[in-house]
Amino acid sequence: MRSIDVESDSYLDTRFVVAAAVNGSHHSIAAHQEWLRLVSTRRSVYFSSFLRVEVTQALFRMGANPARLPADVRARYILDRWEHDFLIRHRWMVQGIEAFETLLATFAEVYELPVTTEIWQHSVPIMAHYRLWSIDAVHVATAQMIGIRNFITCDLGFGRVDGLHVILVRDQS
């Protein structure tokens, strides 16, 4: 018998995934709490395969701009040497990706969805209507085309999308 809560399938946005994987990053406390909820209630989660590309980009930007991270994290990973040391960059990226994949392995059920031409086409009017970046519009289009309204994100911009049940995960500033 399935014990997965099929009534609350949720789509994961990149910023939530990064925040949940990297302690000390923006909104990581709230993201950790939401991650605990998703795992403990055995929610099924969905994401676009493009999220993988975005995760690596986010990790890279985080490492290149260590001001975004707490001082102890910057010191532990020696991120002040980011510009000059391949090994520093490589270690940060590899461990970040491993954390991301560890996160994926905690969810009861994971659907990784492809970016198709149809989704891309569907994303264009979403961009125009809601003034979203192309990648964000692809996430919305993917969720829409599989009939998922629960959308977990740290980004306020998705609140403009009609019919999307945005679960906003943000630390209090």
Binding site: V22, Y77, E98, E101, T102, V110, M145, I146, G147
Partner: protein, 79 residues
Amino acid sequence: MSLKRQQFDMPVLDDDGFAPPIDEARREALRNDPAVRYYRNPDPASGLLYKPTLRVAFPVEPSELTDDDDPEDSHVFCR
């Protein structure tokens, strides 16, 4: 050669642009769609456990980078 169009690509959308709420039939279609990667955890018997795709050995030991700080001991990433 026939090209089977995936159900994934053919939803009927409502006025807000959404396909009908996902149901078990749709999930089953997704699980059977070769373009969709599906994982189920923690259920080793299913054979569908998520398998990390990246296993890159770090080229040097962390101790070669720093005398004191060992990121392997940290909890920055993995929870």
